[in-house]
């Protein structure tokens, strides 16, 4: 997949260069990208992409020591591509990683685990942010042995939504469970999806574990009476990591009741719904900056509303600014493109200006040189330029400096009539 090679190239070229400074934005976009990957239709693709994205980011950040390991990463990602034997390389790989950089290894492991997981972006994001805060060594140890554990276990289709919590009351428990459910359900269809939008499609399968971690980490005042029951249930299950997520055969989600919980079907359904919602809130929390310490629906909703309003106001302001900057709205597209505006985010200096906003407070990676991998993944700007010019040239060739007729025929745009000023009507028609 092109992303893979380009990300590898990015890694290789940028491990030597110094760290860029737009990382948080790039990281952000990668995470939002992983959030948004919808695995429903393209499981493998999304997996790989999210994994490659994360690995690109991660590895690009590391020092040149990791060049050897990055080759392992690419080997691993090609294994993922084949979709088989994924877990096999990982355990072998991980011990090597341990010595080099304790901070990142747990993250890799989590990333590795969550790639089986399709839309694992949400989990990864959460995991990453948690990881940065907490003691990595101990998280890694626990996570590694859990990885061994469910590598041993078969990924069966039993679909118990049990918690594989492990006495680690932190994020690692959430990822372990997330990993469990992911390793099992890599190609299970998503049922009961409200819509396929935000790629937290696997959310429901990570809901419970995430929520349990949530409950144990923050004290979300959802008034979950299951919270104490959950942790006890989790602890009692211990290291026998169970596979979570729905069965591939059934059309509905099997939920095993936790200890001390009513097994009423209504309350189960309600619990599921509540956990779906809390998972969404968690995603939103990661998205909206400055929401990390906030707990509780009301306050978070408040933050979200403020953020949406501020973004909308920014759009208004920027449109005013654009209107003043170009008095006649005649953008010189050629010139603009030559500036490589499209190398967003993080590489272009303008984006650095707003990176502090985008920066997550929790995201304190020690090696900030993440971006370049992502930027290298961008398509060739020349192609882009050609597309734009071809379209505009079909409308009025006089404005463009070169003769675009050659381009037009090359691009084979069938019906851009000279009268027709609409943009790509034949292509997409701005279809919605």
């Amino acid at each position: 997949m092109d992303m893979n090679e380009s990300s590898e190239k990015g890694m290789k070229s940028n491990a030597s260069s110094g760290p860029g400074n737009g990382i948080p934005v790039e990281w952000q976009s990668q995470f939002s990208g992983t959030f948004s990957c919808t695995p429903a239709a393209q499981q493998q693709h999304a997996m790989m992409e999210s994994f490659a994205a994360v690995s690109a980011g991660l590895w690009a950040s590391a020092t040149s020591q990791n060049m050897a390991l990055s080759s392992d990463v690419s080997a691993m990602s090609s294994a993922v591509q084949r979709g088989a034997g994924f877990l096999a390389p990982v355990p072998a790989f991980l011990p090597q990683g341990l010595s080099h950089f304790p901070v990142d290894s747990g993250f890799i492991e989590r990333a590795a685990r969550s790639t089986c997981f399709g839309g694992g972006g949400g989990m990864m994001g959460a995991g990453a942010y948690g990881a940065a805060d907490q003691s990595m060594g101990d998280a890694f140890g626990g996570a590694a042995e859990r990885l061994m554990d469910h590598h041993r276990n078969e990924c069966n289709n039993k679909a118990d939504l049990e918690l594989a919590g492990n006495g680690h009351d932190e994020v690692p428990s959430s990822e372990a469970a997330g990993g469990d459910c992911s390793s099992k359900g890599s190609d299970s269809k998503k049922r009961r999806r409200p819509n396929e939008v935000m790629g937290a499609d696997q959310v429901h399968c990570s809901n419970l574990p995430a929520d349990s971690a949530n409950e144990s980490v923050h004290s979300k005042d959802k008034g979950e009476e299951s919270s104490p029951a959950t942790t006890t249930g989790g602890k009692s299950k211990g290291k026998g990591a169970k596979d979570t997520s729905e069965s591939q055969k059934e059309d509905y989600i099997h939920v095993r009741a936790r200890r001390g919980q009513a097994t009423n079907s209504h309350s189960l359904a309600e619990r599921l719904r509540r956990e779906k919602i809390s998972e969404r809130m968690k995603l939103l929390q990661d998205l909206v900056p400055g929401c990390s310490k906030v707990t509780g629906k009301a306050v978070m909703l408040d933050e979200i509303i403020n953020y949406v309003q501020s973004l909308q106001r920014q759009v208004e302001f920027l449109s005013m600014k654009l209107a003043t900057v170009n008095p006649r709205l005649d953008l010189n597209i050629e010139g603009l493109l030559s500036k490589d505006l499209l190398r967003f985010p993080g590489v272009h200096s303008s984006s650095i200006g707003f990176s502090p906003e985008m920066m997550h407070p929790q995201l304190q990676l020690s090696q900030p040189g993440l971006i370049q991998g992502g930027a290298a993944g961008m398509a060739n700007p020349d192609v882009f330029r050609r597309i734009i010019q071809a379209q505009l040239g079909a409308k009025e060739g006089s404005q463009m400096p070169h003769a675009l007729n050659g381009y037009v025929s090359q691009m084979a745009y069938p019906s851009l009539g000279s009268q027709d000023l609409s943009i790509r009507p034949s292509q997409d028609g701005f279809q919605m």
Binding site: E196, V315, A323, M378, F430, M432
Partner: protein, 201 residues
């Protein structure tokens, strides 16, 4: 299938093109009109590159299509058929909205009647307590109020509840963010261009 990079690229393309079109269509405009044109073209670009997967996109364009003065520009940008579709969506949304408001009023009135008949306290405490755990009523009221606000902010989310509302919000926030980023980079780019021109000429 919401690939952020592809989305961004598509968005940027459409943005540039639609801005170009806007510039052509509106030769002489006051600042406010120009700003509205820019805003419109950027919204349309965002909505169309988002695709059919999100209802807010359709609602956003429908919102713009509902205003008469945007018609020419919209037609240019989206093509005749696209505009027709947007206008139809706008009309449908308006009608549905009115119906919904009416039915909600009826439901609310009946609730009030019911609860005044029975013991108010038992009803109110029984169902919410069962449903959402130990949340105090004031907190729940706050949450409801904020959800209402959110519904007003996010386009096309008038009739969504709970989970789907949050999903829409999530999507919308991500797209708004990219919109802001792209527009900022455009601004900077054209500013630099102008400075260069000034320096040279």
């Amino acid at each position: 299938m919401h690939d952020p990079r592809r989305f961004k690229r598509a968005f940027m393309e459409r943005l540039l093109l639609s801005l170009q079109v806007a510039g052509l269509t509106s030769k002489s405009m006051g600042l406010r009109e120009r700003r509205d044109a820019v805003r419109l073209s950027s919204d349309v670009a965002m909505a169309s590159s988002r695709g059919r997967g999100a209802p807010w996109a359709r609602a956003l364009v429908a919102r713009h299509a509902a205003e008469r003065r945007n018609e020419a520009l919209l037609r240019r940008i989206m093509g005749g058929s696209g505009y027709e579709r947007a206008a139809a969506a706008a009309a449908a949304a308006a009608a549905a909205g009115r119906k919904e408001i009416r039915s909600k009023k009826i439901v609310r009135r009946s609730h009030r009647v019911c609860s005044s008949r029975r013991k108010r306290r038992s009803l109110v405490m029984a169902t919410p307590a069962a449903a959402s755990g130990a949340m105090s009523s004031s907190a729940r009221r706050m949450v409801k109020g904020r959800l209402r606000l959110l519904r007003r902010l996010v386009p096309g989310a008038e009739s969504l509840h709970g989970f789907s509302l949050l999903t829409e919000t999530l999507d919308y926030v991500v797209c708004l963010k990219t919109q802001v980023e792209l527009m900022q980079s455009l601004c900077k780019g054209s500013q630099q261009q102008q400075q260069q021109l000034l320096q040279l000429g």
